[in-house]
């Protein structure tokens, strides 16, 4: 039982990191119907920005998160403007292929020696790791920080989307872009803001990932990125609470698979879930179904 609870906590830690990535996926998909494959790489860049902020510039941890968020927001907006915006009216698969191209480009470009380089780097811990015992179950201050920061950001996002003018505009654009435009919403700006916010969250996720699993390298975003996307689909793509729920489930399932079955099979289980969800309930756990109009 303690082992089970221990794995649950570990799973939630992973799930919260996924959630920060999945939110960007789901927001972008909700608004431009694009699987932004490069999103996992933005997450990776966030981890590196955190690394430099801590290790090279000696910034305190909260500031490192801010640096990563701002840097990733800028990167996300830049990618959208240069690579995706020109394809907004092209077939969806063209944009998807472009997104894969952008993803590969970021990975291989940062893999060059004069950028980040292929050698993995140890992520600095800005504080000593402390362990708290809780009835046989152990929880570290790192885990508490991951939970705390992730929850804080998600609450902030919910408030932003629910309460502000910009948040309302985002929801309007995701429901019907043309009508939103007619109502005087600047659709381009809203799309850029969406990419910016989503990327900022992924950046924060990168830093949290860095302190939780302290080794980073340019290809580190691929698998978490894909799995976060799976989580977004699981929860119901385009739905913000769905992305959070799906991510926590994914994190826990993956950790349990490693703990109870085999760690080599955990990727297979994650994507097995994906295929199952797509077949049984493509709208996800929290999505509503609807039929296509002819």
């Amino acid at each position: 039982m303690t082992y089970f609870l221990q794995q649950l906590i570990n799973g939630l830690q992973l799930g919260f990191v996924y959630a920060l990535i999945a939110l960007g996926y789901t927001m972008v998909y909700g608004i431009v119907r694009l699987i932004n494959f490069a999103h996992g790489d933005v997450f990776m860049v966030g981890a590196y920005l955190g690394f430099f902020a801590l290790a090279s510039w000696g910034l305190p941890f909260p500031l490192a998160i801010v640096v990563a968020m701002v840097g990733c927001a800028a990167l996300g907006v830049f990618i959208e403007r240069v690579a995706y915006k020109p394809l907004r009216n092209a077939p969806r698969i063209s944009a998807l292929i472009t997104a894969m191209g952008v993803s590969l480009f970021i990975e291989n470009f940062t893999n060059l020696n004069f950028v980040f380089g292929p050698t993995p780097r140890a992520f600095p811990r800005p504080f000593a790791v402390r362990t708290f015992g809780l009835g046989g179950v152990e929880i570290t201050n790192v885990q508490l920080i991951v939970f705390g920061v992730a929850i804080l950001l998600m609450v902030g996002l919910s408030l932003f989307v629910g309460r502000t003018r910009t948040g309302r505009a985002m929801r309007a654009v995701s429901q019907d872009r043309d009508t939103a435009r007619l109502m005087g919403i600047n659709v381009d700006t809203v799309i850029s803001i969406t990419f910016g916010i989503g990327s900022a969250l992924a950046g924060a996720g990168g830093v949290l990932y860095g302190i939780a699993y302290p080794q980073i390298q340019p290809m580190m975003g691929i698998m978490p990125g894909l799995k976060a996307f799976v989580a977004a689909v699981l929860g119901g793509i385009g739905i913000i609470p769905g992305a959070m729920l799906g991510s926590l489930i994914m994190g826990v399932v993956e950790t349990f698979t490693s703990a109870y079955v085999s760690s080599t099979l955990r990727d297979a289980v994650a994507f097995g879930i994906l295929i199952l969800v797509l077949l049984v309930r493509p709208t996800g756990l929290l999505g509503k179904s609807h039929s296509d109009k002819v």
């Binding site: 699987i35 993803s103 291989n108 990727d267 797509l278 077949l279």
Partner: protein
């Protein structure tokens, strides 16, 4: 009157065969004369294998409109299946042929089983499902030694006979092109394209779209199986790493560069791209080798932004068209 005239004109297919046989003799001569050294022979073989695999993906995506990101998984199925067969039965031309057939058949069978449920999904959902399938297949290959020790799991499968030679690749490459041409320019081919163009309208004119989506997918994956079998016996060593997601993107890139729905495009792009990548490997100094992997996605992005139809944009070389159409083209 029209039919009589058409019958006497040489079939463009005949021209294609003449061109092909000429090309074969020329290339073989170059090899014997030592102009094409073993390294470039290997590259040429690889180009042919890429062509076969890419034709399959073009049938699935370019003609039938079903976007698949799992093509490499079927390539892997063909490779491993054929390698197991030739290792069990012993090397030889007969077993290679059997291996190729078995590889293609197994890839097609797996495609059929996975395709039936997932081909119901649309565009990007299908993409992500096939991607997921590819990753699952990679994990299974990584753990294959638990079931079949000979497959070697993540450390790879070795001891495969080097049976793939240029004539084999050429013969199968040529067959792949001709079969594809005959298929595409037929009523069945038009049914496939109608699914790509408008699935609902296709249903509305009597096309069983589920059936044709599955057909295109199964044949296309069968092509991947043939390519995989030839690949296995070209390098004599298989590693699950060669069949991951990146490999699927590789093939996709060839199809997109050449042109969706164009056999000629895939033909040119498969050969040009393989030689370009290998050429750069030889031409570039070691210090900038890594740049190849940077240029490659850039080419992909630039094409999508500026020439989404690819080089050939749904046109064909004359000799790949079945027969000049009546009236003005």
């Amino acid at each position: 009157m029209r039919t009589d005239g058409a019958r006497r004109r040489p079939e463009p297919g005949t021209i294609a065969v003449i061109v092909a046989v000429g090309g074969f003799v020329l290339l073989q001569a170059l090899m014997w004369l030592g102009v094409l050294n073993p390294y470039w022979q290997q590259v040429l073989n690889l180009a042919g294998i890429t062509l076969i695999s890419a034709l399959g993906l073009n049938l699935i995506y370019g003609y039938t409109g079903q976007f698949s990101l799992g093509h490499a998984a079927f390539y892997g199925v063909g490779a491993y299946a054929s390698a197991l067969l030739t290792r069990s039965l012993g090397p030889g031309a007969g077993t290679l042929l059997l291996g190729i057939v078995a590889g293609a058949a197994l890839a097609a069978l797996v495609a059929f089983l996975i395709g039936l449920p997932i081909l119901r999904l649309r565009s990007d959902y299908l993409a992500i499902a096939t991607l997921g399938f590819g990753i699952i297949m990679k994990v299974l290959l990584d753990n294959s030694d638990a079931v079949i020790p000979m497959m070697g799991g993540s450390s790879g499968m070795s001891g495969i006979a080097r049976l793939t030679t240029f004539p084999w690749v050429f013969a199968f490459g040529l067959a792949a092109v001709l079969v594809m041409r005959n298929l595409v320019f037929s009523s069945v081919g038009r049914a496939l394209v109608s699914v790509r163009e408008d699935e609902l309208a296709a249903e509305a004119v009597g096309i069983d779209t589920t059936r044709y989506k599955t057909l295109g997918f199964v044949i296309g994956c069968g092509y991947a199986g043939v390519a995989g079998a030839l690949y296995a016996h070209l390098y004599a060593y298989l590693n699950p790493f060669s069949f991951d997601f990146l490999k699927s993107i590789d093939v996709l890139l060839v199809v997109v560069l050449g042109g969706l729905g164009s056999i000629s495009g895939t033909l040119v792009a498969a050969i040009a791209w393989t030689f370009l990548l290998e050429g750069l490997r030889v031409a570039l100094p070691a210090s900038v080798q890594d740049w190849r992997m940077v240029i490659y996605p850039l080419v992909m992005i630039v094409f999508m932004l500026f020439r989404p139809g690819g080089i050939f944009a749904r046109t064909e070389f004359g000799f790949l068209k079945p027969r000049a159409r009546r009236g003005k083209e």
